[in-house]
Amino acid sequence: MAGFSELIKNFDKTREYVRDFFIYGCKVRSDFDKKSVRTYDDEKRRVESWMQDYMRYDDSAKGRHVSISVDSGHISENPLYNAYYSKSFTDNDIKLHFLLIDILQDGRSRTLRELTDTLNSEYEQLFDDQTVRNKLKEYTDEGIVAAEKQGKTMYYSLAALCADDLIKMYRGLDDALKFFSEAPDLGVIGNSIMKAVGIKNDLFHIKHNYMIHSLEDILVPDILAAIDDKCSITVKKFSWKKDDEFSEEEIIPMQILVSVQTGRRYIAAYVPRRRRFVTFRLDRIKQIKRESVCADYDRLRERYDVNIQRCFGVSFGDRHEVGAVSAIKITFTVDERNESFIIDRLEREKRCAVLEKTGEGLYTLTADVFDPNELMHWAKTFIGRIVSIEGGTEKIRRRFYSDIRRMYRMYGGIEDEHIQ
């Protein structure tokens, strides 16, 4: 049996484990029942190694709870980036990496044969042509090596731009890297530049920091490329229950939707099979496979741009995208003289809804959206100020009234029996 390795081949499995440790914070070994005990122990050990000070252990009757506890608003570097820096490799991979860079850094371009000969004669390293060719092809794709055909022969040279030169040359770039490497949207790539040149972020913190998004970033470049190239993709979702089959769906991606308040990110896409726009949570997607170019992309995108204006959050509702929608109206009471900050809050948080003053100390928000239910989580942040809710659906209104009654009782209120 092979021993434990710090390095990993498969990022998907790690994503699942880290997410569970990080989000739930109270998983024990038996909770991971769809996995083997060995896998659990290995994944746990890796996570412990990356997270170090942020791991927390609590013993219970069911076993030892392992969790990650981070005040992510006050950290200098997202520790989950470490997962990306753990890819396994072979001895040849690392040797060829440094040898090819060493040979090519004089700026001269060389053929495959010259490179293989140099490796042999100057470095006493025997590599067959195919191994070196494969590595050069890989590095050409990565942009480390530039390949140029002269006649029938391919010449290879090192890409010109070096991270340290760039940072020295362009004033302020180091500070920009420090910020953008922690800010949302693929910060890990910026962090990889900083790590290469030995810079650490000592200036910035990110509040409301959903660090876990960095794990989903593995999918994002492929989604962005598919959007740019107007291609469909097949999304394969994680299985959430023991016997779940992986479900797959072919979709045409339009945009990535980011909720900066709930910690969820989505692909908004047109789903040909369902003939409608749907959103898919990024954290539930395991893999993405690029499919074909969508001939109808521009027309769908136009429809999407219209439809997204009628989403309060990310839901296109249950109706067909052009179906009837009933507007929801929520009226709030505000002490205008002393509570102008509430009006400011409504203004800044209303999104696509319309806010009107409808009476003395009364403000009504009207949202003509596909899924009025999406407002309700937000509306409850105004508990203590909601005068009425109209429109939407009967179910939404009934649930809101029922929730307030339940919460009233929960916090010690005694209900008047006559009120139903």
């Binding site: 069911k62 942009g143 004033r171 910020f179 910026g190 913190h205 916090y411 209120g413 009120i419």
Partner: protein, 328 residues
């Protein structure tokens, strides 16, 4: 082209660092692995670097027992295509002007002229960012941001006048410690100490967008500052204690939404309910309270009493509003 590649990996990075010198020794290898590696790397990586029969062949042992690199020069740090595409995308982010002068941006744009940006702004849609986010392209804002950033970097003492959230005009002498950005608010803020007679009076957070003037006093704050102590002093003395039920997928929703907070979770195996202790910055108490209320009856604030009382007071008011209105 994928960021999950060994070329960005910790092991490659450590090897690159060691290959900067023609000669090294086993002790240095272990020290650098300990310093730059993962917790357990010292158990795995040194034997891959130190000639032993199991190593990957980057070093040869000399007669003096020292380790000599097989390469001739120190490795260069070539930017990959992915890194260049990321940089190019960031050059179109309006916040880049907070850090780089226009001519620097132009220079970088030229440098990356043949690189396609990794993404465009319109690829992403922030569904719930507050509408009153900072205007990063405003020249006055940029100038104030840069002065504040410089003050943070050099621990400069600065005189600041700003308008508080309550509309009050405030001015004073401050030392700025760190800059914070909130994607939810779209705002930059500076963590600082307020000084009086050159001594720390209190700690605070100033919105960069609310600063009217910021002037360098020409002096530097030399007292060592522990940011851990600073943040601890701002944290609530007792955590919020929340019972979370799984109604409406409450556990997952709650855990995800509160993921940025430091928390400790215990699960009751009998009821399947979770009890979460949640630590937050005292100044954010109202924000935390309304976030908790938004979960409705799926969660309950068990303590501390002060927080529960605030929830109760809002619920009583809400109940009265709805049913008084309905009866009326």
């Amino acid at each position: 082209m994928n960021i999950f590649s060994e070329i960005y990996g910790t092991y490659f990075r450590i090897a690159a660092r060691l290959l900067e010198n023609e000669v090294t020794d086993e002790k240095t290898v272990r020290e650098i692995v300990m310093r730059d590696g993962f917790r357990d790397s010292v158990l795995f990586l040194p034997q891959k670097l130190i000639p032993s029969g199991e190593d990957c062949g980057l070093f040869r042992r000399g007669v003096d027992n020292m380790l000599r690199r097989i390469t001739k020069k120190s490795p260069v740090k070539v930017l990959t295509k992915l890194q260049k595409m990321w940089l190019k995308a960031k050059l179109s982010d309006p916040r880049i002007r907070l850090f780089l002068e226009d001519d620097v941006i132009e220079g970088l744009m030229e440098e990356l002229a043949d690189v396609k940006p990794l993404y465009r702004h319109e690829h992403f849609r922030l569904t719930d960012r507050h509408a009153d986010h900072d205007d990063y392209s405003d020249e006055k804002y940029i100038a104030i941001f840069r002065t504040a950033l410089d003050a943070v970097k050099k621990r400069k003492i600065v005189d600041i006048s700003f308008t508080s959230a309550h509309g009050k005009h405030v001015s004073g002498r401050f030392v700025m410690l760190k800059i914070e950005f909130s994607p939810k608010n779209g705002k930059f803020r500076a963590y600082c100490y307020r000084l009086g007679n050159d001594k720390i009076k209190n700690s605070g957070l100033i919105n960069i967008g609310r600063i009217d003037t910021i002037t360098d006093t020409g002096r530097v704050f030399r007292t060592p500052v522990s940011m851990d102590d600073y943040f601890s002093s701002r944290k609530c003395s007792t955590p919020a204690v929340i019972r979370v039920t799984n109604e409406r997928n409450g556990v997952e929703r709650f855990m995800l939404e509160f993921a940025p907070y430091e928390k400790h979770t215990v699960r009751d195996l009998e009821t399947g309910q979770y009890t979460v202790e949640l630590w937050y910055d005292e100044q954010d108490e109202t924000e935390v309270l309304i976030m908790l209320l938004s979960f409705g009856p799926v969660i309950e604030i068990l303590g501390p009493e002060k927080l529960r009382e605030q929830a109760k007071e809002r619920l009583m008011r809400q109940y009265e509003l709805l049913w008084k209105n309905e009866q009326g």
